[in-house]
């Protein structure tokens, strides 16, 4: 097994980053060793020390997005956060707007709401940012309650014009919910620039452990709760507390996970988000340059759009699932299929075949990219 890890080259970082920074692993172990009590429940010193460690992690998460610490809630993952946001904002007969690049973690909760009387519209994302915003604006009705969109597609990497959409939503007094699964830790996101609710995973670009996510609000829109229970506060009331983070954190939180997430944020803060973006983009450019003249490889790229560092591609004549298995058998970890984003694949014209996704992290080296591209070029030479 150890030999396998040594031989492995991992490019599936859009699903979850691997490896994790050493300090993330260290802090996870440390949490099990010295932060073993339940934070925010008891009052003994052991619980208070754990609560202090959780607060420090929460503070780091808040600072990364320029948010208030009280409005920074821990969730299990980005999907969990998006469900809390989408199901929390809807009211009877509400209308929601989303885009044609969304992950199922956005479109499925929205579609589920449509069975309970809500309606929704899907705006077309275009290469031209102003056209995308115009498409969204044209769908707004007096009943529109929220615009929910990804900040970057997990299939094409396209970055959406978050600031422009935020300005539109502010003008129309509509809640703007951003799915930052692929953007957090890669592009600068500031909750004070018009994003009302930001949802993200902890285990992707923030380099935290799986089982962590964030729901961050600017406090301007009221969200109903969809999960209620023990919070360690207002315990004599039958009603859920109205203050955050307690309102959205019923039940014991993933304490080792959130403490380690704090270490992940320390890591990216030290490296610098711009530097991470630049380094990973450099690896994507190597990948493109080495494969762009290979007629048996289709790269789904467009030089006219801004993207996060990930690339979808296909090998001629085989499905993306087969291609990913072929690569796996040779030690390369990449994800094939629809990436839980059928809307994006419909748009890309790859709904039948899916795509293989190349998604480097800051830990990947150019040599690893060359090994992958050499393998692909050698393999496709055998194809007619």
């Amino acid at each position: 097994m150890e030999e396998l890890y040594r031989a492995m080259i991992y490019f599936d970082n859009a699903a979850t980053t691997y490896p994790k920074p050493y300090n993330v692993i260290k802090q996870t172990l440390r949490a099990f060793e010295i932060y073993g009590a339940n934070p925010g429940r008891s009052g003994h010193f052991f619980a208070n020390e754990t609560a202090e460690a959780v607060f420090k992690a929460r503070n780091k998460c808040a600072a990364l997005f320029n948010a208030e610490v009280e409005n920074t809630c821990f969730t299990l993952n980005c999907t969990h956060a998006l469900n809390l946001a989408i199901k929390g904002i809807i009211t009877e007969n509400a209308h929601l707007i989303t885009t044609d690049l969304e992950h199922n973690s956005v479109i499925r909760p929205i579609h589920s709401a449509s069975r309970k009387g809500c309606t929704y519209s899907i705006a077309k994302v275009e290469k031209n940012d102003l056209n995308t915003v115009k498409n969204i604006e044209e769908l707004i009705t007096p009943k529109t309650k929220a615009v929910i969109c990804t900040c970057a597609s997990n299939v094409t990497g396209q970055i959406l014009p978050i600031k422009l959409i935020a300005d539109l939503c502010k003008r129309k007094n509509i809640c703007f919910i951003v799915d930052a699964a692929q953007g957090a830790g890669i592009i600068d996101l500031n909750i004070k620039e018009g994003i009302n609710i930001l949802c993200c995973a902890g285990h992707k670009g923030l380099y935290g452990p799986m089982g962590t996510g964030l729901l961050i609000s600017d406090g301007k829109f009221h969200l109903k709760t969809i999960i209620e229970g023990g919070t360690g506060s207002d315990s004599n009331s039958i009603e859920q507390p109205i203050f955050t983070p307690d309102k959205f954190e019923s039940g014991t939180i993933n304490t080792p996970g959130v403490i380690a997430l704090g270490a992940g944020i320390d890591f990216i803060s030290k490296k610098g988000i711009a530097k991470i973006h630049k380094e990973e983009s450099r690896l994507c450019n190597i990948f493109i340059n080495e494969l762009k003249n290979n007629n048996n490889i289709t790269l789904y790229i467009d030089e006219n759009i801004k993207t996060v560092p990930l690339i979808s591609f296909n090998i001629k004549g085989i499905s993306s699932f087969e291609a990913a298995t072929l690569l796996s058998d040779s030690g390369f970890c990449l994800r094939g299929g629809l990436h839980c984003s059928f809307l994006a694949h419909n748009k890309l014209g790859t709904i039948e075949q899916g795509t293989v996704r190349f998604a480097p992290s800051i830990f990947n080296k150019p040599a690893e990219v060359y090994m992958l591209t050499d393998f692909l070029n050698n393999y496709t030479k055998k194809l007619k």
């Binding site: 934070p39 925010g40 008891s42 009052g43 208070n48 609560a51 202090e52 959780v54 607060f55 929460r58 503070n59 208030e68 610490v69 009280e70 919070t231 360690g232 506060s233 207002d234 315990s235 004599n236 009331s237 507390p241 203050f243 983070p245 307690d246």
Partner: protein
């Protein structure tokens, strides 16, 4: 000594973080809140009204002050 009641653990931690930076001695305690529920508060040893004033700088609202 005084106990300043706050709404929850996050508020208490935020308050403690701020007061520690100002070298104002304090301790987080689990308390029975003014509405007779579970809550968190800060044990402080200086003028609690002055401390509540300081905490208002970071948007922390003191729910009540009890003398111990």
């Amino acid at each position: 000594m005084y106990i300043i009641a706050l709404s929850n653990m996050t508020q208490a931690s935020k308050a403690q973080f701020y007061l520690n930076r100002m070298r104002i001695k304090n301790r987080i305690e689990r308390i029975k809140s003014p509405n007779k529920s579970c809550g968190y508060g800060l044990r402080v040893y200086e003028d609690p009204y002055r401390i509540c004033d300081i905490l208002s700088d970071i948007n922390i609202k003191c729910i009540s002050i009890t003398t111990k």
